[in-house]
């Protein structure tokens, strides 16, 4: 089809528009498969338990220029006493070759459920964080990181 051609009918234009619309629909579904992998990982750890929101402060940059070194800080609200503390925190990514990034085990001796590290991200994707409290409650947080240069080498 020639864009400026006078023969471009309304029907053709509509057809093209629908193709573009379909492509736009398809794009988020491509990462959907990886979202499933992360969901499967969480299920492997905790079964079908309910994931509540809140309590987690997941600190990642909005835009990461270099996917090889992306700082990630997780802080979970908790008094960190023997009776009430954060047991574990798992960090996942839904657009990397492997979903897992890091798993922390905290103890009340930490005083504060907070930890920072640096991760590799292959592409723009979501970071998903699940925290397990000592009473068995689960919390989840999610953040998107836009990656300019992927960190997978290759």
């Amino acid at each position: 089809m020639v864009w400026n051609s006078i023969e471009t009918t309304r029907r053709e234009a509509l057809g093209l528009a629908s193709i573009l619309g379909f492509a736009a629909l398809l794009a988020p579904r491509m990462s959907f498969a990886d979202e499933q992998t992360v969901a499967a990982e969480i299920k492997k750890l905790y079964g079908d338990k309910k994931l509540e929101s809140g309590k987690i402060k997941l600190d990642v940059p909005e835009i990461a220029e270099n996917g090889l070194v992306v700082p990630v800080n997780v802080e979970v609200e908790s008094p960190m006493t023997d009776a009430d503390y954060v047991k574990a925190v798992h960090v996942f990514a839904d657009g990397n070759p492997l979903p897992g990034i890091v798993s922390y085990k905290f103890t009340p001796a930490c005083g504060k459920a907070s930890a920072s590290t640096r991760m590799r991200l292959a592409q723009t994707q979501n970071i998903i964080c699940v925290a397990e409290m000592s009473n068995g409650n689960l919390h989840m947080a999610k953040a998107n990181v836009k990656v300019t240069i992927g960190g997978c080498g290759g």
Binding site: L68, V69, V70, M80, A93, N96, P97, L98, G100, I101, V102, S103, Y104, K105, F106, T107, A109, C110, G111, K112, A113, S114, A115, S116, T117, R118, M119, R120, L121, G151, C152, G153, G154
Partner: protein, 110 residues
Amino acid sequence: MATKPTPRVRVPAQVKPGEIFEIKTLISHEMESGQRKDSSGKVVPRKIINKFVAQFNGKTVFEADWNPAISANPYQSFFYKAVESGEFTFTWKDDDGSDYVSKNKLTVAA
């Protein structure tokens, strides 16, 4: 690997009782992810540090399980609440079975 991984740890020399402070650790390690291919197209085998353990006076206080998604020269920071003086033992466990250890003293004084 060209050089032996060297851990670097920053623990405050002296803290007050009850103070919550940050411990920062860094170790030189290439963290080969097992995802890369060399020039001949062969996959470079995975070799990472898969676990970091922090102990205080022999008791485990913090653990991190690292996946290949952790950057080279891995950095890890976390918090600890001062109760008594003692010694931290930080251990990094490599895929090849070796352990890298760093010991740091902590003095708690009012």
